[in-house]
Each structure stands twice: as C-alpha cells, then as structure tokens.
Subunit: 372 residues, 2 copies
C-alpha cells in the first residue's frame, strides 16, 4: 500500500508543490465513450452490476490509463451509492438517469433516515483496494511503484439530498426546493445525516487506499445566493472537516467541485478543501488571482471542445493553460493547477480527441515551465 508513486504530479499540483507538467484527468474518464468500457458493461449486465463488482470496477477504472497518459485514476462508482445504502433503492433504467424507489418526501421518511452501515458499501472499499493493487507496476530500477494516484469521491450532502427528495434528476428542483423553503428543519436533518455519512464514506475510501478525494457538489449551483451557503456549502464544509487528511505519511488532498459555483468562489475556497474545481464559465486567471494562494484550482475545459478537430482541441487546451498561466510565480512559489473538464466527458466523444488533449496539455505545460 505504501509503494511510492511513479507519477505524483497530480498530488503535487493539489498541494501547490512544483510539477513537471500540469497533470490532468477527466471526470467520467472511464465511461461510455470508450468501446472497451461498453464491452465490460455488456458483460456486467448493468451499470450497477459494474459499480458493485470490485473486479469490473477495477477493470474499467484502468481502461483509460491504458490508452492515455492520464495523471490520476478515479474510482469507478456512482455518487448515489450512499443513499442507496440508506435504503432508498437506486436503479438505472436503460437510457435514463438514476431513480430511487423510495424518495424522501415526508416527515416520517426524513425522521427514519440514518447514516448507513458502511458494510453495505464494502464493494466500494474493496474496489478501491483492488484498483490500488492493479495500479502497481515495476519501475526502471525494479522497484514496486504505483503508476498514478487514485481519487475517491462522493456526492455532496446537498447533491445527494436533491436526488433523495426528487427521486430522480430534475430540471427545476421543485420538490427539494419546496422542502428547503417550506420545511428547512427537514432539509437540515437530511443534510446533517448526509454530511456524517459522506465523511465516513470518504474516510473509509481513504482507509482502503484512496490518495485524494473529491466531493461533487453537482447541484449546488441551482441554489440561490444565501441558500447555497446555508444548505450546500455549510454541509460540504462539515464533510471536509471530518476527513482524515493524511495517510502513509502523505497528505490526502480534498477537491470540492460546485458546478455553477463561480459566484461563490471565495467562500468555497475557504471551506477547507485543498483544491476547488471550476466549471468552464469561470475565468481561470481571474480565479487564480483571487484564491490561487490559498487553494489549487481544477478545471475547466468545456467537454464539447472534444467534438472539434484535433488542432482546435489542442488550441483550446492551450488557452486553458495560458489562462491559468505558468504555475510558478514570480516569487518562486508554486500555485496549483489540475487540468480537467468543467463537466463529465460526453459519451459521444471521439476517443482520439482525448489522446490529442492529453498530449497537448502535457506538451504545452512543459513549454510553459521551460519558458518560465
């Protein structure tokens, strides 16, 4: 477990330490745009069949790393495993999004909500351990090393609550926001349970070998100013405060990503996370100027760029790197940038575009360092 890393650029960028190149990974990098993923999914029978099998999860987690020189692996799982373990009954119908059989709609349901027995999520922790093992390799000098770090993750308390109350995706969040405004007491209880559960869940992933963890606040951006701080950020912060931050003598960075969180950048940057994820609406250079001396930034290419020809993919990737600028500052200290998409990669993405992207990010960020 404590084998050194062959490529630790990702962890170093998260911690604002010097890096050889700007590391990148992609949200949903193990996904439907890869034919080999679809083949494994076919064998597993369903999405949950994939996610609940440590062997299958390990197989698909490694697939993008075989194709591309990505700087991190991310656990193959779903953000909704926690509410599923709470007994809400998660399923994925063909061609649709997630659905809960037993959404939370009334006082009795909310009162009965409990932090789940983590044993029900054993398959996740087993997958983490299995992936760490699969990432081991032998370096030039015959040492056992990990190829790249493994990222664990969870949905944020608010994002989980959205699904738990709506019972599925939503385009107006009417049910969950009605509860928030009409019965804030019920909403706070759900969020408190979720925060405790998410912290325990992420700590168990860290125990199992996750070398960084990410909190996906996918739906924080649908909240009004004021409500975001009280109902999303406050509970994300509670999660972050509850996390183990060191394992095997190495800091475990925490990434918080609020899609649509641009208006609240300063507040999110103060939540205790090491890294703040940004969607593509945010100007990286401006964000760095505001909070770059306190947190690393992760982002933020529009995944739709990957539908353009190779020269455009390369140019847009360079534009993101140039917007952040050379990570080493004039005073010699380093700011941190992890290159990523501002959202999960589309299932329709041509796999060749990802190869172009990885090459462009590594090459251009090395040029930035050489020039600096």
């Amino acid at each position: 477990m404590s084998a050194p890393l062959q490529n630790d650029n990702f962890l170093r960028a998260c911690l604002r330490q010097p890096t050889e190149h700007t590391p990148l990974w992609l949200m949903r990098q193990a996904g439907r745009y890869l034919p080999e993923y679809n083949a494994t999914r076919g064998r597993a029978g369903s999405f949950m069949g994939l996610a609940t099998s440590p062997d299958f999860a390990t197989e698909v987690t490694l697939q993008p790393l075989e194709r591309y020189a990505l700087d991190a692996a991310i656990l193959f799982s779903d953000i909704l495993t926690v509410p599923d373990a709470m007994g809400l009954g998660l399923s994925f119908a063909q061609g649709e999004g997630p659905r809960f059989a037993h959404p939370l709609r009334d006082e009795a349901g909310v009162a009965a909500l409990r932090v789940p027995d983590l044993d029900k999520l054993r398959y996740v922790f087993d997958a983490v351990a299995s992936i760490r093992k699969a990432l081991l390799t032998t370096d030039d000098q015959g040492r056992r090393v990990g190829r790249v770090p493994l990222i664990g993750f969870s949905g944020s308390p608010w994002t989980l609550a959205c699904y738990m109350v709506e019972g599925a995706g939503s385009d107006d969040y009417r049910l969950v926001k009605t509860m928030l405004y009409a019965r804030p007491d019920l909403m706070h209880r759900i969020l408190a349970v979720n925060a405790e559960a998410v912290a325990a869940y992420l700590n168990a992933q860290i125990d199992a070998g996750a070398q960084a963890v990410m909190v996906f606040d996918s739906w924080g951006g649908v909240l009004a100013d004021g409500a975001f701080q009280r109902f999303s950020l406050a509970y994300t912060q509670r999660v972050v405060q509850g996390l183990k931050r060191e394992r095997d003598g190495r800091r475990v960075p925490v990434i918080v990503f609020t899609k649509g969180g641009g208006p609240w950048l300063d507040e999110i940057a103060a939540c205790g996370a090491d890294v703040v994820g940004l969607d593509w609406t945010v100007n990286l250079g401006a964000a760095r100027a505001r909070v770059g001396d306190r947190v690393a930034l992760q982002g933020n290419l529009d995944p739709n760029v990957l539908f353009a020809p190779p020269e455009v993919v390369a140019r847009e990737a360079q534009a993101v790197l140039d917007s952040f600028g050379p990570p080493q500052r004039a005073d010699g200290r380093w700011d941190g940038h992890v290159f990523n998409l501002g959202h999960g990669i589309s299932q329709h993405t041509p796999p060749e575009s990802v190869a172009v992207l990885v090459e462009a990010v590594h090459a251009h960020s090395r040029r930035q360092r050489a020039a600096g």
Copy 2:
C-alpha cells in the same frame, strides 16, 4: 399611443430615477399557473394559436394584471418567433418544448439563412398595438392613461442559434457547440444574421408601442468564459446598439438577461443595456456595489420560493429587497431595482403565492423608502 402612464415605476427604476416602490413583474407572468390562461389556451387550440392571434395574445397578456398589482405587462409571445419566420418551422408538441422542423446543420443551410421579412411577424406587432390599447384606462381626473408600461422582447442571437442548430432544447448543447468550435465561421454567420433580425424585430415592437424591450440570453450561461464574450455578448451588444432608444419623447429602456451570467456581470453591464437581469445565484448587494452606478438591476427571487407558505414567500421577497438595499443612495442619487424572479414562474405555482409576493414587494419597498 402617447397617453401618459398611470404607473411608471417600472420605467423609472430601469432608468435609475426615483420610485415610490420597487416595481415588479414576473417572467412568464401570463402562463400556465393561471386557470384563466389555460382556459384561453384551450380555446386557441395550441400555444402557437395563442401567440399568433393578437386577440388571444392581448387577452392573456392582460390576465395577470387583473389579478395582481404588477408594475409592467409583457407581450405574450415566444422567443422563437424570429427563427420561425426565417423558415425553420417551429412547433410545440403536447407536453414537450419547442421543436424546429428544419434545424441548421450544414454549410448550405447556414448560407441560405436570411433576416426574415418582418411582415411574417406582423402578428407580433399587431399584438403589441392591441395590448397597448387594452392597457388604456381612465384615471381619477378623467384622463386617458396607460395602466402600466408594456415590455417587448426577443431571444438573444446566441440563444436563438442554440435552438436553430439543436432543433430543440438540449441538455449538453453538443451540436451547437460542435459547430461553434469546429466551424466558428458558420456560427458567426448565424449570429450576424440573428443580430440584425433581432434588432429589426425589437425596433418594430418599439414602433408598435413597446415601452421597454428585453433580450433573453437564456443560454449564454452554458458557454465557456471567452466563448461567451465572442459568441453571445458581442452579438447581444450588436442588437443593443441597433435599437431605437426613444419613442414619444421617452427613453425605451433595454434589459439584458443572461441566465448563469453572474461570472460576467461587469462585461454584461458594459454592453449598452439600461438594465441587467440577474439570476438567483448572484448576490444583489454585491452586484449593485459593482455595477449599480451604471445600470439598473432586475431580479432575482428563486421561483421555487413560491411553493412555500405565505410567510416564507414574504420573508424571502424582503430578503431580496434588503440585499439590494434602499435604492436611494447616501449621496441622494437613485440606483435602480426591478424585482423579478430569476427565471420564469413555474406552471405549478399556486396563484395565491403571487398575490403574497406582489403585496410583500410593494409594502416592504415602501417601508425601505420611508426609513431611508
């Protein structure tokens, strides 16, 4: 046509002039949450049957004003009338969003695109004139007056382009963004035609009697930083620059609303509009401090608040007003605030909530002025 206004608080707020109370109107205030709207729609047979009939459009435009003391009327129409007049074939299937029979997908289609003959949109201008007439009343002193101002509107060039290329709503904007990144020349041509068409369309609404106009950049917020400025804001600005700004000796204010435009507030405020619309993610007080001396602000209650009990509706409305603060500044000058929702009102809204909202905004904003 030049009858004075009985209540011109809305226009005065747009122009940062003194007001008796903070004026409010609601996006989609004539809509499916009102039983009388549904009855008229039933008689019209379809949404387009309503929108293309000046009589029906007048009837539904006036409906919310019969119920509530709203400070403005807004033309009942759709943002997609312009591409329909361009020959793209708009329809609304039952229970679905808009759809174009002939979306723009290739070079030939884009090359053939033309500013439409405004005569095809005659039904819109006739509706404007008809609504202005229907808004006339007789005041206490026996004078003919307009009850409240009438707002005209259009989609922004970018927002229209999204629908024109996608052919319908989208959750990832893959087709339109692929064109933007892969064939920016085609996208710029569509946007140039749209900008010219939208300016002509809004000017014809102003000629017909619209006393303010609003540009809905509903999908500007899906663009990446940089792309937003080049592909959305630049063309909205072109529209604004092409507008008649005065009629009957009175300034015709222009409102620009970019949903998700919070990250670009300063740039949007510099586009030439009198008023910038804000969604609920933006802190009104902070926005006022940044741009309130240059533009009025419109917004920004989350429409989901209207599902809460009356006391919560009133409290949240007061919170929005308090966030903006008393509009008269310490130096005696006035900043402008138009109260609105940060998005269209939901069809599921209880009509009683709107009554509570209108009363709360008027009463609390009068108290703010009395205290100030």
